[in-house]
Amino acid sequence: MIPELGHFALILALLLAAAQAIFGLVGASRGNVAWMRAAQPAVTGQWVFLSLSFGVLVWSFIQFDFSVRYVATTSNSLLPLFYRIAAAWGGHEGSLLLWGLMLATWSVAVAAFSRSMPLPYKSRVLGVLGLVSVGFLTFMLFTSSPFERLVPAVPDGNDLNPLLQDVALAIHPPMLYLGYVGFSVAFAFACATLIEGRLDVAWARWARPWTLAAWLCLTIGITLGSWWAYYELGWGGYWFWDPVENASFMPWLMGTALIHSLAVTEKRGLFKSWTLLLAVGCFSLSLLGTFLVRSGVLVSVHAFATDPARGLFILAFLVAVIGGALALYTWRAPALKSEAGFELASREAFLLFNNALLVAATGLILLGTLYPLVMDAMELGKISVGPPYFGKAFLIPMVPLVLLMAVGMHAIWKRSRLGPVMNLLWILLGAAVALALFVTLVVYEEFHFMGLVGFTVGFWLLGSAMVEPIKRFGGWRTLPAGFWGMTTAHVGVALFAIGVTGVESYRIEKDISLGIGETTVLEGYEFRFEGTKNVQGPNYRAIEGTVLITRDGKQVTTLHPQKRFYASGGNPMTEAGIHGRLRRDLFVALGEDLGAGKWSMRVQYKPLIRLIWLGALFMAFGAAVSAMDRRYRARSKVSAAVMTGHAAGEAAR
């Protein structure tokens, strides 16, 4: 009975989403205030019913209701409570429901915190969000309802994929979805702007905090995924350029371009149509990501479904959204002209380069991700594009991007006036080169060209980001939150660059065979294999190895890598042993019994790998700080009065 309640709530949510779309869009175009006002309760209602529906699903998981097909396929009677809840989004149907709930949550937030916007504009935004929601809920109800019954019910479920039984991975999908779906808000703002043919740039100010919030969630989601892959997959890598990873990285790159371009549009009224196009592109890439991951076109842990009907639906949806938005764009955008000019070394110009380079990076990744799919679809051969391509191609736009960032942070709007800062930056560059040489030659004792380049740009950016805060020492309170956000995020980029450089240039990875008491040495660390024993977990048993690590005769740590076998059967799992320090990680994964008392083992030395995730967290934190800038609140109060007047005027028409 209860699962049917969830299904029913889902249907009601779909109807309310339709109401939201119709009242919002039609009401605004007819100037019917009552209709426009009605869009808001529809949003709230949709959210309430989706929450109810999601709650019912979680309840079914907690109660081990194996008469529900989805529960039976992704849960198990031995699964601990925490993972039973997380299992609600551990499969295709549940993660779609979560997607829908996230979309409704963003819509409710937009409805609640956008009092300053004129009513017709706001209801158009809500209307567009409603349309997106209608698409997704229809998809869910017709192709992948999580509440479908299993007749007869099974006594026990299949279990959640053991790979997914992990804390980081329980949080990874919701964060990632918050990010993906969050870009729908920027998309809705862009569509509403195009529909109204708004010539002003107030929308950029309204859209900025939302875009930053979405970008923040996506950043954290990707970081968690990378961190999870590092310690859970047993390969010891932080990024594999897997198509599914690329699917989340492309909207991130374009989102990064969007938050910068929005700044130019808001402050200077430039790049108007470009910013709109980026907003459309960003959400389109999020949908493309969903399509790639959920359609079964790609194969990975993420691809649960290989049902062609589902893929076809998402593809049709994708075409409708992108096609519709682009048609709207070609119709309306020519009216948007940017009048003001700017000079070559002005802030606008640097942000233009930023956008060009980020979009180029997105394009290069898109090429490598889609090319094999296109070739396969046209029966031109089965190919794959190896990770070395992405590694190389990505650096081409990224090195200039970081270099320009170090300078561009100090540029002012409109004019080329870097002057005295430039002298300081040259000195910093010299210092960065010297420091990078020191790190490569003295610390890591091996010259590595890309290592030198990477450390140089990283150190330079770090130094450059520190210039302003040091110069204004004592007067920090006068600096706006936006400045601190930018500085924090750029420091994050620098840390990230240094981390990637360290790992890519100086990592050591060995797959070896070790007998009990045998040792292997990596960078002065001696790994001694002490043997294995059997251990018992709540829903698995494991073989646990013991590896003692010493350096210069002193014990560093003892690692316990495991090979787990889950009670529900299925795949064994590798649980790596990791000793992490800011300076380096030591990584050991247990392979298999090779006979003759020996085990295969993967031992790795990963310098500076933690800086990668730390840098990403800095970026996310920077976005949070920026989004909280008083400007978005203070000005909205001033404009609120103006806008309500404006709205009343427009509604009266």
Partner: protein
């Protein structure tokens, strides 16, 4: 220099830079495209010599062997028509099993007639078969047919 000339030089520099970057990117792309071949195609000599490619099929039942204590493992990959011996030194994926689908990245050592793998990937769960492998498998009756 007039501002106009300055701008011209900047534009020219950007065009040259973008052109060079595109060339480097396309070259990296060319170098890293890996084709997929089935054991039958490899036997027929279609696979490139000395260039990395992907070999896929089933791990022949009973073919996995290793010298006890040695990390090198040898097995054969089959499409139920032809099979190719593979040698690999490293950790096998958790899902590697005899009789199951597998994709190996590596090069053909034509002097030994062995495919030397530098990476071995197995399917992601027990119900899954890589589509490339599924399409090239020869059922016993249809053996010899084109893939």
């Amino acid at each position: 220099m007039t501002p106009r000339r300055k701008r011209m030089i900047a534009v020219a520099a950007i065009v040259i830079g973008v052109g060079a970057a595109t060339a480097v990117a396309l070259q990296a792309f060319q170098e890293n495209i890996m084709y997929f071949y089935s054991p039958s195609q490899v036997t027929a000599g279609e696979a490139p010599d000395g260039r990395a490619f992907r070999l896929g099929g089933l791990v022949t039942a009973g073919s996995v062997e290793r010298t006890p204590g040695d990390i090198e493992v040898r097995f054969t990959v089959t499409d139920n028509a032809m099979s190719i011996p593979v040698s690999y030194s490293g950790l096998l994926p958790d899902l590697f099993r005899e009789g199951q689908g597998v994709i190996a990245h590596g090069r053909l050592d034509s002097s030994r007639g062995v495919f030397v793998a530098d990476e071995v990937l197995a399917k992601h769960d027990e119900n899954y078969m890589p589509p490339e492998v599924a399409e090239t498998l020869h059922t016993p009756q249809a053996s010899g047919g084109a893939s």
